[in-house]
Structure formats: C-alpha cells, structure tokens
Symmetry: none
Subunit: 400 residues, 2 copies
C-alpha cells in the first residue's frame, strides 16, 4: 500500500495534520462523557458536520503505542515495520546530528539510595537543573568513544556514543520500577560490537555515578532506547509534498525530521503554534501541528485540564479555516484517557474536512461516540495519510 | 501481529471468553429483530452499556467459517494460516492421543440404499446406538495400519489411522449431498503416502460396509476432514496466561486443547458450566466458556429456541460478574441465523466489558444493530484477543 500511494501521489492542495496528543479518552464516571465529548468545541463540531468522522487504531486493535509508533502511523509509515528507538527520537528532538554509525540512548536523571533506584525521574527536577547536570557530565571521557550529551526537558537528556565498533543491540539500564538496583546494560546479539557497546555504556554509567556522587535528588542516570538512525523515505519522496512541523516538544520535531519535515519555531503556547502556521502558510504545502498538553493532562489524570486544552485548541480553529487548506485532519496519535493516566489502546477519534467530505450533518459534534458512527468508519492510522491526500486532490486514479 | 502481541504480553487480570456458538442472526420477518435482539437480556444489556460493542468477521467479510476457523480466530490464531482438519478436531474432542504421523478423519454414520446415500446422518441415531456401532467396527483389521475408533455424539465418530507411510492429503468420501453414491477417497498430492492413505481409507470403508450390511439406518460411514495434528504455539507461550476450557461438546474441548487449554468437566447444562467456572475460578487466569445450543437451534431453524438459549445464558451473567473478571468478551464464533439454518458469513456481535471500557451509555442493549454502531467498530476475530488482553491490563506499550 505504501508503494501504491507513492505511485499515485500528484500535486494538489495544502494539507494540515493537527494532532492533539493522546486525544482519545474514557467517560467520566459522573457524566458518562469523555474529555472530548465534555469540551465545548463549537468550531470543531461545526467542522465535523461539514467533514467526515471515524476512529483509528494507531497500530492495531488492543495495541497501546508509544509516541514513536503513534506518529509514524499518522505519517503513513507502518509502525511495526519502522520501529525507532527512544534514543534516536530524543537525539533528533534536541537537534543532535546522528551519523549512520552513532548510537543514541535516552537518559533519565534518577535518585539512587544504597544502590537502589528510589525515584526513576529524580523528582522531575527543573529543566535548568537538568542542563547544569548535563554540563557537569560533559567532562566524562572514555577511551575510543566520543560522547555527546544534551539536556531535554526536566529530568530528561540524551547521550550519543560515536566511534568504531558500536551497536544498538543492547538492553536498557532502566529497571522500569523502583526499589531495585539499575540493570547492567547487556548485549542482545552475539556480534562483538554489542558486547563493546554494553561495556562502553556500563563504563559511562559508572563515571556518571562518580561525577554525581554528591548531588541529590539526581545522583545517577538510567539509560534506555539505544538505537541508530533509521533510513525512512521522506514525505517529499512518498507524497511529493513540502512538509513542515510546528511542535513545542522536541521529540515530535524529531519524529517529523525523520520523515524530512522542516522544523519551524513553534513558540510555547498553542496560540503561538497557530501564529507560526499563519506566518509560514505560503512556504509549505503540508503542516504537522502538534499539541502536547492534552497528553500531559491525560497522564496526570487531570480530566478537567484535558477538557480545557481541547477547548483552547477549538478556539484556534477559525484561524486555521481562514487559511483555506484543501484538507484538514484533526486527531490524536493515541488515546491518553485521564481516567487511565497513561497511553492506552482505545481507538482515536478523527475528523477529515475538505470540500469533498461526505457531511456528517446529523452528528452531535466531534467526539468518540460520533466518530464511532462516522462515515469514514474504523481504520488503521496508516490509512489516514492516503485519505488526507485524497481529500486534498493529491492522489491520482489507480488503474484504467 | 501475532509476534508483536506475544512480545507485549505481560501479567494482568483474569479474563473470560464466553462464546455463544453461532450467536449472530437474521431478523425475524414479523418483528424485524434478530434472535439476540428479540431475547430479553437485561444483564447483557446492562453490561453493554458499561462495556463496548462491535462486530467481528470470523475470517473475512463474506467468508462463512466452520467451527475450527471460527474458534481459532477467536483464540487469536490466523484461521487461514492455521487450518485444522475436522478429523483432528474430533479426535482431540473425544480424548484420542494423536502422534505426529497419525491421520485422523471424522466419521458420519449414514444410510445407503442401492449404493446411493439417502441420509448423510443416518437419521441422527442416538449416541448409544453410535457407540454400539463403533464397538462393532472395532473388529476391522487392515494390514500394516493400526485403526482406532471412537464414538462422538449421535451419528458422529472419529477414526485414527496409525502406521508408516500415511498422509493427510486425500479427499473426503462424504459427497455433501444425498441421492448420489459416496465418493472414493482420492489422493490430492503426488507423494506415494497419499496414494497409500487413499487405499487404506477405501479399504476401511469397504470393511465397514461389510460389517454393517444388516444394520439400518446406519449401514455405512462417510469420512471427511483427514488431517494430522498441527503444531500451534500455546496460549501460555502466546499470551502468558494459564487457560481453561468449559465446553459440553467434545469438539470445542478439542479446539481448546490445540492451544494448550486445560479441559474442565463442563456438566451438561448451561448452569453447570457456570458452576464449574465458579469452582475453578482461582486456578486459572483465562476461561473459555462455550455454549453450544444457540448454534444447534440456529441449524434447526428454531428461532424461538435460539432466543430461549440466549435468555438462559443471560440469566447466568450475574454469577459471572460476581467473580469480578478484569475483562469479559461475549461473542459467537460465527453467525447461525435460524432463518438461514446454517453457519453464515454475517458479522458477529461482540461485547467487551472491563473497568477500561468506553461506555455505550446510549445503546439499546446487546444486539446486532447496537454492535454495528459500537465503539469497537468492525474488526477481524483475530483482533479480539489483543483487545481482551488490553482491557485486562495484559499488553505493555509498544515502542517509545
């Protein structure tokens, strides 16, 4: 299917993919309504009635995706075939260049007491504190390997190992639970490069523990998601479009760079992102606009805040419509129900609006139930880009 | 996808798969309501409103499955890739051990007059009569082959051929219609073992005809579904669960044994099956409860009886809920509409209920129409186990 879509791609109208991260929800026990159904969204509701609705499975029914698979699916890349490690996503997000032999891993600053991990996020230290610690760690030297570190937000950072004879085939040191020691990094393949990589990673962690010995709460690091740069065909190749990303959080910019999107400055607020969209409108024909706080509110279990973020996005919709895109797709990369406090497998509502939509005249608005009865039905996330391209007049007829 | 689910499986809550065989129906001409929509099912309706609904295709749209593919799909095994012959299902169902070289075939006692089959089921003779005839046939000896026979219910029995140089690649002798002679068993591959198997089977049938010459109505046998034991990964391997089956009919126990389920004594009545479920609740974390009479009523064209059976199951639902399973899946392995009097291709209603369900607050209850508007949409049967596992907290997140 990916090849077929590539063959059929043809020039056409401008498209906007507006992703409210973790959009899908679960009903509030008192009202029986999800976050999206609870939110007052007059603009999205009107768009739904002149657009078409459906539900998508980011990977497959029952599968809960991480942010990587969730977005690759939305971009039209089979997320099972194209798995990208967290280390690579983080490195791209902070703007680190990755050579083909480099191996990146995600760092969490963590708290260790008597050799046991007591907080996997070091109390979510402020970003400035994370930057200071990364600076301190940059003194670490290991023989035969170049190490580059960069802070992300809060307790998060990324490390890139550069040198001959490394491999991404090693385990995480993150034990994924507290009350136990960090794990040793172990090779997962028999190649000598994997053994070498594990040795380098364990040496690095030992050095970190020495350098941070007097710090608290961040006195150690947990490494996970070792990986190399994948070799994905670009949006330009796949769809013949000139794409840009507007995303406040680094990882989503990183994901977009993987498929060749130009990174635009997104500012900090949701309204900033739409400012940027207006400013750049003439320069690109595909815009991926990413809104993070829906997911953060869901992960925090804050139903009301997730509702508010959705309403905040709704208020920007008239600005988007004023630009007259040929086709708009509004959806999430997965569900993060506030009641579940985590990413989940629940299918994600989506809305496609264009001149060529089959209207949902009689729908109650944009919400999970309306989408479950929507005219675009139940699809996989990878089906959405072809649908969006089609609605923008960008896919030729297949066959005679 | 099967591999991905296996990788993501993790310990979690208890699950119940409640299968009403042949559940899906067609509307009664007078009321416009299917069997399930006609049945008074207050408990299933309440469960639907706090659960989620959908329709599944056992194999694919338009495909009518036998019991084997129907159940393998529900168990999460691609039914096209993993085809299991009826002979193997029957042998497993009656507790016959099958070695890797053994070939099993399903027997129907039948009525033959002037060399022509006049009843493919010998008037559905009682089970005791079937057992007597099997006993009589156990005198048959053929050179170089060991033959084991066992009666199933009514006119059904199974034969296992043991010996060197046999093959499952032969045709059925069952002509699937009356008024014609039984067919000769023919090889379907060019290997010498297939020719040998066909010869053995035809010799066996000739011997049966000699031994039963003075019997009526069961004076011959029809053989079908020659096959060997398949090599399926177990539920334990695939999902990390300890599964049990509660099924009155042998074949369904056989299907469950194929994927490593422990067979529990099911008694005879639907209420007996729920007695057993309660008694065994602490010993397993997955229960497959199979209810046969919905299918039998459908095959007999008895709309009202099918309605009654569904109501009988509904009355047991409070007992099931009292056990507090983490996730419940109620569905059929295929449709057997009473008006169609046979298995059919119509999509099958399903209901998943767990703490993490998106409620169907506004649905009219558990029925085909409600399920067609359900929030779990239209899926393939193989997608149901991942969904059930997810709802029971048994699938980890995929990717970072």
């Amino acid at each position: 299917m990916e090849e077929l879509v590539q063959q059929l791609a043809t020039p056409g109208g401008k498209m906007v993919l507006l992703v409210l991260d973790g959009l899908g929800g679960l009903p509030h026990p008192e009202t029986g309504k999800t976050e999206l159904e609870t939110a007052r969204t007059p603009n999205l509701d009107a768009l739904a009635r002149k657009g078409s609705l459906g539900l998508h499975d980011p990977v497959a029914p029952g599968i809960t995706p991480g942010s990587g698979p969730g977005h690759l699916g939305l971009f039209g890349y089979d997320p099972v075939k194209h798995l990208v490690g967290r280390g690579v996503l983080s490195a791209l997000g902070v703007g680190l260049e990755l050579g083909p032999q480099d191996v990146a891993a995600r760092i969490n600053f963590a708290s260790m007491k008597d050799g046991v991990i007591v907080d996997r996020r070091a109390g979510r230290i402020p970003s400035e504190e994370g930057a200071r610690l990364v600076e301190k760690l940059s003194q670490i030297r290991l023989p035969g390997v170049e190490i580059e570190l960069k802070a992300e937000m809060q307790h998060r950072a990324v490390v890139v190992f550069r040198g001959e004879g490394l491999s991404p085939h090693v385990t995480d040191s993150d034990p994924q639970e507290t009350g136990v020691p960090a794990r040793r990094v172990e090779p997962t393949s028999s190649e000598p490069e994997a053994a070498r990589m594990a040795e380098v990673a364990n040496q690095f962690i030992a050095e970190v523990n020495r350098v941070l010995a007097d710090e608290w709460p961040a006195n150690t690091v947990l490494l996970r998601g070792f990986d190399r740069m994948p070799n994905l065909p670009s949006f330009q190749e796949r769809y013949g479009v000139n794409p840009a990303v507007i995303a406040v959080y680094p990882m989503y910019r990183g994901l977009a760079r993987l498929v060749g999107m130009t990174v635009l400055d997104a500012g900090q607020e949701i309204s900033d992102e739409f400012d940027r969209l207006e400013a750049a409108w003439n320069d690109f024909d595909f815009f991926f606009v990413h809104v993070k706080p829906t997911d953060s509110a869901g992960e925090d279990g804050d139903f009301d805040r997730k509702v508010q973020v959705i309403e905040e996005v709704d208020a920007q919709i008239p600005r988007l419509l004023k630009l007259e895109p040929a086709a708009i797709l509004v959806t999430g990369d997965h569900s993060t129900p506030a009641l579940f406090r985590a990413h989940s497998w629940h299918p994600v509502p989506f809305l496609i609006a264009s001149q060529w939509s089959r209207w949902e005249n009689d729908c109650e608005g944009f919400g999970e139930r309306a989408c479950s009865r929507g005219q675009l039905g139940r699809v996989r996330a990878v089906d959405l880009m072809p649908l969006l391209l089609a609605h923008a007049g960008r896919l030729k007829k297949f066959g005679a």
